[in-house]
């Protein structure tokens, strides 16, 4: 299968030629496929945010390329315009970027810039609002009157309204309470499930990466240090801790159990898997004569 986005030998250097020169990304190769949920983890300063800003040409590679359906996104003004429509980027704390008088206008900002006809804009606003759990009664209110969680959902709806084929989110759940986190994740999953879009989600929560990602990439000092399924990545506990990261709590419990003489099959990284693994042990006993 061909990836929708392909990152080839991507390097990015900030402030080149000055004493502050810093290589934020070094020779990064990464592919993003239709319909997958890619979890990106890494210590602060590992290059996660720099990487995702390359995905819709917000910043340009110092060297290397980003290909959308095989074409360099930075080739021309036209290709940049195209990638901005097809790859949607949600920044950290996106609610700080709300600025319109009403929720509706804010969500409509992106599609309006895409110069879509008014009825198509209206249709997309309603669709995006529905995906993000933004009720119709909120659409005419000022964004500033909403709660933190609601504002966050409006900001995400503004990107979803462009119906991106790749939706990229930088720590979309940061600073929210547990229910707020769940709701945002459900909104993102609803968009993924209904449209088949690829989702790229940057997170500091190993638990959330474990539960939702189909594949993970681990950045360390500007390079991809590990990638694979959550099961593969979380089997490298020592390395992850050395990189300033962690394994999910359930993986820690499973490791400890193993040391105490109770061996569970495979890598366990979610509560659900742990429950099933323990019930299987319990079942094993019942089956015995």
């Amino acid at each position: 299968m061909e990836p929708i986005l392909k990152i080839e030998k991507l390097s990015h250097v900030y402030s080149p030629g000055t004493p502050f020169e810093t290589a934020a990304l070094r020779d990064v190769d990464l592919e993003i496929y239709k319909g997958e949920i890619l979890g990106v983890i890494g210590h602060t300063g590992s290059g996660k945010s720099t990487l995702i800003q390359h995905l819709n040409a917000l910043i340009k590679p110092t060297s290397g390329r980003v290909l959308l359906d095989g074409h360099d996104i930075n080739a021309s003004k036209q290709s940049i315009r195209e990638v901005r429509g097809r790859v949607g980027l949600v920044f950290q704390y996106p609610e700080y970027q709300l600025f319109e008088e009403t929720v509706k206008k804010d969500i409509a900002f992106g599609p309006k810039n895409m110069k879509l006809p008014p009825e198509e804009i209206e249709r997309r606003v309603m669709k995006a609002a529905r995906f993000c759990g933004v009720g119709e009664e909120l659409l005419d209110r000022a964004p500033f009157d909403l709660s933190g969680g609601q504002k966050r959902r409006v900001a995400i709806a503004g990107v979803i309204a462009m119906l991106p084929e790749v939706l990229v989110l930088d720590e979309p759940m940061a600073g929210l309470d547990p229910r707020g986190r769940e709701e945002i994740m459900e909104n993102i999953l609803a968009y993924h499930d209904e449209t088949g879009a690829a989702i790229v989600i940057v997170t500091h929560s190993m638990e959330e990466a474990a539960r939702h990602a189909s594949r993970m990439a681990v950045l360390e000092h500007g390079t991809v240090a590990l990638s694979g399924t959550p099961e593969e990545v979380f089997s490298h506990g020592e390395e992850l801790r050395r990189m300033g990261l962690a394994t999910p709590v359930m993986t820690d419990v499973a490791d400890k159990l193993c040391k105490l003489g109770v061996k569970l099959p495979g890598t366990v990284y979610t509560v659900e898997q742990m429950v099933n693994a323990l019930l299987a042990l319990e079942g094993g006993r019942h089956d015995a004569p």
């Binding site: 890494g42 210590h43 602060t44 300063g45 709660s147 933190g148 969680g149 940061a174 600073g175 929210l176 309470d177 547990p178 229910r179 707020g180 986190r181 500091h204 190993m206 638990e207 300033g244 990261l245 962690a246 999910p248 709590v249 359930m250 820690d252 419990v253 400890k256 159990l257 040391k259 105490l260 003489g261 109770v262 509560v271 659900e272 742990m274 429950v275 323990l278 019930l279 042990l281 319990e282 094993g284 006993r285």
Partner: protein, 285 residues
């Protein structure tokens, strides 16, 4: 001897609406709370529950509209005591970038004690001590903006510690940090409590962090709805979930197993406790 360092009595607060005709909405309505010297109290609550508003009352950043807040025997409404109060109660916020003012780590840490008029030789001593407590002494001549988020947050904490406060309020200090940054901040809080005898109030959305506290206070819609040791609070799984909160993963696991009829203890707050309880139940299977 009275060990109460913070006494909040029937505190009410609202923000004045921009629209003069609009009725103000209470953010805090009738909050009463006493905090003992040297304790580590975690405050949980959904977004908008009033946690941060409550925290800002503890060093007179906000003043009560009704009721009173007394810290170390001083009424926060007494303007003459404001500096004394801020000297005793320090605040650490979520975003380290907003809390750093200097281009050199040690100058940043010296900023607050300089403002307090501490003599220079003593400032030197305080800065070194604070940087050692947070494990950043070797970075004292570095530029803060080149450090990682977790390191910057440790510098911000050192800046507060250099004031030698008796109490520190942390308002979601780990929300923007990676797992290592979170571990470091929690380690510093432990050291402050155990080695410096500080009173620590931690506002957080991370249940695993709250599980380390002596006491957990849960807020909802401007009121305190639960108050007790974590081992007791975190067994109230359904009530917490109804409040938009959750429980540590280890408790959640036990809860799910018990729902399926397995006889395991519920309140295992740490990985070790959880694994040991499970090993006792599943050994030899």
């Amino acid at each position: 001897m009275d060990n109460t360092v913070i006494k909040i009595d029937d505190l009410t607060f609202f923000y004045t609406p921009d629209d003069e005709d609009a009725a103000p909405q209470d953010v805090l309505s009738g909050v009463s709370l006493e905090i003992e010297k040297g304790s580590f109290v975690a405050v949980l609550g959904h977004n908008g529950s009033g946690k941060s508003t409550l925290a800002r009352h503890l060093n007179a950043l906000l003043l009560p509209k009704g009721g009173s807040v007394t810290v170390f025997g001083m009424d926060t409404r007494d303007e003459a005591l404001m500096l004394e109060i801020r000297r005793r109660v320090g605040m650490v916020f979520q975003n380290p970038d907003n809390q750093i003012v200097s281009n050199v780590v040690e100058e940043d840490v010296a900023f607050a004690p300089e403002n307090l008029g501490v003599p220079t030789p003593e400032i030197r001593q305080r800065v070194d001590e604070a940087l050692k407590t947070v494990g950043m002494y070797q970075y004292r001549t570095h530029a803060p903006h080149l450090l990682s988020g977790g390191q910057k947050q440790r510098i911000a904490i050192a800046g507060v510690l250099a004031m030698r406060p008796k109490c520190v309020v942390f308002d979601e200090p780990t929300a923007m940090l990676d797992p290592q940054g979170r571990r470091d901040v929690m380690k510093i809080i432990g050291r402050m409590k155990n080695e410096l005898g500080s009173t620590v109030i931690l506002i957080t959305h991370h249940m695993e962090e709250a599980a380390l506290a002596d006491r957990v206070v849960v807020m909802s819609d401007g009121q305190i709805v639960m108050d007790g040791p974590p081992r007791q609070i975190f067994t109230r799984v359904e009530e917490l979930e109804a409040l938009g909160l959750t429980v540590p993963g280890t408790v959640k696991l036990m809860w799910e197993l018990r729902k399926r009829g397995l006889d395991v203890p519920l309140s295992t707050l740490t990985v070790d406790e959880c694994a040991q309880a499970l090993a006792a139940r599943f050994a030899g299977k």
